[in-house]
Symmetry: C2
Subunit: 475 residues, 2 copies
């Protein structure tokens, strides 16, 4: 490893300068006036992939193109690693809240400030730099590598799934590494062990044909807003547990290691509460805040609308009432099954005199990492080597639909390996990435490939059936 | 009575022609382009009052003027009757839905079609015509009469209360007669026995400082929309009874005559339900639909708002949720007391982790007629004489704030004596008034004054303390 570390040390300044070039491109995918900039950033990535030693091209989609780089020198029998990232960034507005201009990167107090520094240009660049060093120094990698950098992550990746389906064979991989998240705390490297899924529906209650006078009709004609409130109030019991029959049947218990790990995390509950501004925290009885956020399913009302909502008093008996209701799911809950449970529960508890409809709006499956696989364990020990402490396993309450899609379509287990820090302002002014994580992140990846070297020595790559070798590494 | 009936018979054609003149004036108080028309209608009323034998003038307010007519020939010791009506009308739009133009009255199938035919020009005119006949034929009335016709009823009477307070002494009366409502059914004359009051509030629930990501925070940070639903669901028990402690303490039981009368009304519940379009009717157990509408208090949600209410799915954990909640009140409930009960109930049931505020928005007291008084009984037997059947007593689920204000400020009991028929389209296209009720209505009023004649014979008017005679008649 001496050679690669020496190269890293000597290249760090130029790497930083290159990253700054990348950050200077205002590749705001949401703004059509930046379409050319966005494409330019994609082309920049392709060029940087080539410099690193990959073959690379810009592949068109119905939106911004995908920068795809490949190195297949490990041979058809070696495992393949897919690295996913994105070169587009969030809009920078409100500009007046930035200390320095968003597209003029600068280092202050050990932080690189720029739009995209953390999300995700800075983290994507770590991978390109690590590959550059390894291919430049050694000329080879222990695994085949495909790098997919899309340009539409900040607008919901509308063309990524079709892209992955179209290029399914070319993207076939044994593991996917994504560096687009944050560590739990400074000095505490982290690996994500879960993402929650989502089942999102709208409950629509209809009473009278049209709004009525609440004096002339109130008391005898059913009130759909009141009916809706009564329905929503049945979704949790007094302990905060969700009441849908069968809802918890598919919830897989978490292993002791994970639960103990979560319990041991240095989490300041009062600081978390203060950060939200809520008068208090609450949730399912018997679980701590991090468990409620990461390993337990939820049921939330995301929106309510009925009748008169302007200023003052209007004596209307509404004809309709609507609630957006969503569930965050954990393995192995299935969004379609949860919507069906909601539908049957609502039919059961709906008051008489109104019609109630449950409309499914959106769904996504939950995801859980599978520690123990070669790639996951390589990432774990690489983080320990680079940061000097073993990584913690953390959860994520939100959903990243593409992760489960990668697993579903490509059959590749995902590893979410984030290097940003909490409070990185990923979608806010003054986005930053820790300057020393440029070196530390590349070191981690070098160590990661070094671990894979040990697992898949080039000379002894098993000559199993084509495409099957390494298959068990991270499934 | 022969003389007056002969006059009515011979004048009917010219009365109808006069009413048509009145209906031709587009006195749409809500539209400033009709300000001049509205004033013109007020002036028309003043002129018609004078022709009838009253002294009359147009009194200014901050909005449209009040047409005030007076006949004080019964002397200071005789009782005084205040007749309230309005000369303004609702906007006529949508014009294309009118069979004949709204301000070109015409008779079709025994109905006078025009904007204002029922609400309220046609009914106000009945009073002017009856006074015209009596003063023209007899030269006197058994009571002093004040006629107050305002021009802002259709815009919420913003200047009426200040007007009544300013002219309190001039308007002092022993009874107020209002003809601005409908009979229960054709051939079934009606007297109103009650109006419900109103207590209107907004419940505001606050969780986090601002909307949060429902994935990143959901499950641990309280959801104000869910909290609001749980609060609203506690406002009724399973029998539809309102749960606020003390809520029913001030509800006065209705007398057997009223309840029996309501039960005997020819009410088609299925036709009522079909009219609303609601899949079913529901309400407080143990009471029929008319009782639920007229003699029982209610609690309604008038509006709901929280979080994301647009199309599709947005994974937001709302910071706030709001419900407009109102109560219809019955004698002797007090709006302020009910709001206080709501406030204390909400504080009791509010989930932890959120702050809840109850903001009072509007209130009005319930009203109940006091049958047995001279004026009320005169109206009752006059209706029987004119229509051939005794009037039914009906309730009204809505509120007419000015009724209780008249009683409060002037000390005059109100009599709501309506001659329109159900389905009169008062605020809709093709408004109509039954043509034969022009004659029947005037007949009723002639009989009404004839009954008062018997109660207050001019020669024997009691010479009690000034302003006190007749005082007990209808309090």
């Amino acid at each position: 490893m001496k050679d690669v570390h020496a190269t890293l040390a000597s290249s760090l300044e130029s790497f930083r300068a290159e990253l700054f070039d990348f950050l200077r491109i205002p590749s705001v995918s949401a703004r059509s006036e930046h379409d050319e900039d966005t494409r330019k950033a994609g082309a920049w990535v392709v060029e940087r992939m080539r410099t690193a030693g990959l073959t690379a091209e810009l592949l068109e989609t119905d939106g911004h193109p995908v920068a795809l780089g490949e190195w297949r020198g490990a041979g058809p029998d070696a495992p393949t690693l897919l690295i996913y990232g994105h070169y587009d960034v969030q809009p920078a507005e409100p500009l007046e809240l930035w200390t320095s201009p968003p597209f003029e990167p600068e280092v202050r107090d050990g932080r690189i400030y720029a739009r995209g520094a953390a999300d995700d240009k800075g983290q994507l660049f770590l991978h390109l730099a690590a590959l550059h060093i390894l291919l430049g120094t050694r000329g080879s990698l222990p695994v085949n590598v495909v790098v997919l950098a899309e340009g539409e992550e900040e607008v919901g990746s509308p063309n990524l799934l079709p892209f992955v389906e179209r290029w399914q064979e070319r993207l076939a991989a044994d593991a996917v590494v994504i560096s687009d998240s944050a560590m739990f705390a400074e000095g505490l490297p982290s690996l994500l062990f879960s993402l929650r899924g989502l089942a999102y529906a709208e409950i629509r209650v209809q009473g009278a044909r049209s709004d009525l006078h609440s004096g002339a009709y109130g008391g005898a004609v059913p009130n759909p807003a009141m009916a809706l409130a009564r329905i929503l109030a049945t979704l949790h019991d007094e302990t905060g547990r969700i009441t849908l029959p069968g809802f918890y049947d598919d919830v897989v218990a978490w292993d002791e290691e994970t639960r103990a790990g979560v319990a041991a995390l240095p989490f300041d509950e009062e600081a978390f509460r203060e950060g939200t501004g809520a008068p208090g925290l609450s949730g399912e009885a018997g679980f701590g805040t991090l468990e409620r956020l990461w390993v337990r399913p939820t049921c939330e009302v995301n929106g309510l609308l009925s009748g008169y909502t302007g200023q003052g008093a209007k004596t209307v008996l509404p004809a309709q009432a609507m609630a957006k209701v969503s569930f965050r799911l954990v393995p192995d809950q299935d969004p379609a099954r949860v919507i069906a449970q909601l539908r049957s529960h609502v039919a059961q508890v709906a008051p008489t005199g109104v019609t109630v409809e449950v409309v499914e709006l959106h769904g996504g499956r939950p995801w859980r990492a599978r520690p123990g696989g070669v790639f996951f364990e390589a990432a774990r020990s690489a983080l320990e080597e680079a940061f000097g402490v073993p990584p913690v396993l953390t959860g994520e309450g939100g959903s990243i639909p593409i992760v489960t899609e990668f697993e579903r379509i490509l059959g590749a287990g995902a590893i979410l390996l984030g290097f940003a820090l909490p409070g990185a302002n990923m979608h806010a002014p003054d986005e930053w990435f820790p300057d020393n994580h440029l070196e530390r992140g590349i070191e981690t990846l070098l160590a990661f490939y070094s671990r894979l070297d040990a697992s898949f020595p080039a000379s002894s790559a098993p000559a199993g059936p084509a495409g099957s070798s390494g298959t068990d590494a991270n499934r």
